[in-house]
Symmetry: C2
């Protein structure tokens, strides 16, 4: 092999370190938002210093984009597979929740990156975040359309509102889940099933 493998020097190989930094970045960005997060703090979490972070990711935006893409791609993939499988409209919410919980069981802050309000209004990040959100919202709108149509509601604004609320529900559940580290994905799914059954008869 011409390059890579065991490594170069004292620490660890770049790939491994990058993963560490993206994980730490996701947590910090998810916790404090883009504006509130500090690069030196992210580096400190991993036990390295700021310049290494910059050498690997170029800028705060670069690191954020790496975190965002990882989270967005995993999320979109999981939801797409679930939605593609099909099913009754009022069964989809629980299935999607189950997929999300399973995907992010050990990476619970990732979801928040997609909905971070503190990113600059213009630029690469805004575009990338909007793109990921658009893809995800498309699924939400699809699900909302199926659900509302099955109940005889067809106002496009109603559909959009329901889709928006749905993403907010996921947001809240994940936020609550973050505060309960002992609850695993299966327990979360069971809880949601119980609640939805009790409240809506779904």
């Amino acid at each position: 092999m011409t390059e890579s493998r065991p490594v170069g020097t004292k620490g660890m190989p770049r790939e491994e370190r990058e993963v560490q930094l993206v994980v730490a970045g996701t947590e910090e960005f998810g916790r404090a938002g883009y504006a509130g997060a500090s690069m030196v703090e992210i580096a400190r979490r991993v036990g390295v210093t700021k310049p290494l972070l910059y050498q690997y990711f170029g800028s705060k935006d670069g690191l954020y984009l790496a975190c965002l893409h990882r989270a967005g791609d995993r999320l979109t993939e999981g939801v797409a597979m679930t939605m593609a499988a099909g099913g009754a409209p009022d069964q989809m919410p629980l299935k999607v929740l189950s997929a999300i919980f399973t995907t992010f069981d050990h990476d619970r802050y990732a979801w928040r990156l997609l909905r971070d309000a503190t990113v600059p209004a213009t630029g690469d990040i805004a575009a990338a975040a909007a793109d990921h959100r658009r893809r995800l919202d498309a699924f939400a709108v699809l699900g909302a359309t199926q659900l509302l149509t099955s109940r005889g509601l067809a106002d496009p604004a109603d559909i959009e509102a329901v889709a928006r609320v749905w993403t907010g529900v996921v947001d809240s559940l994940i936020s609550w889940w973050i505060d309960r580290p002992d609850e695993d994905a299966a327990a979360m799914t069971a809880r949601c099933a119980r609640i939805m059954g009790g409240l809506f008869g779904w």
Copy 2:
């Protein structure tokens, strides 16, 4: 009168200016979060300069606290009156929504201050925000308890999760509402009634 009334000089009296600044601050903090908001931008919105803002509110935290207390107090008051009036558990959500929409029709960003994740983790602001949130969450927990109990669900964690989701639903609806300036409080309430009726039979 020993002071106040018509004024002193060219602009407008302090009280009036303070209200303007709190309104502008609420919008900017609500839009960009505490960390992302800029004091000079808030002053600029009102047409004054930063030193005046500091003369009146002392610091960024001081302004934020003024905005937070105004929003929190109005919100708590409105919700408390609605909850005190009582009613069937599955009628409360719509009543509370109606109260919130009416209260914040012309101040839609205010709600977000209570749930701003970019405030520093410790200090006056964190304490005040936690306090307002605690009061509001108490209402949410109360409503969730009544609702879940009426359906035979009693797990305390379920109740907490539902309460958390409820606040997230309000968050989402207001966020959607902000994007629809033409929709007034009555229209929002009617929309929510229609959707809840269609989806849950409430």
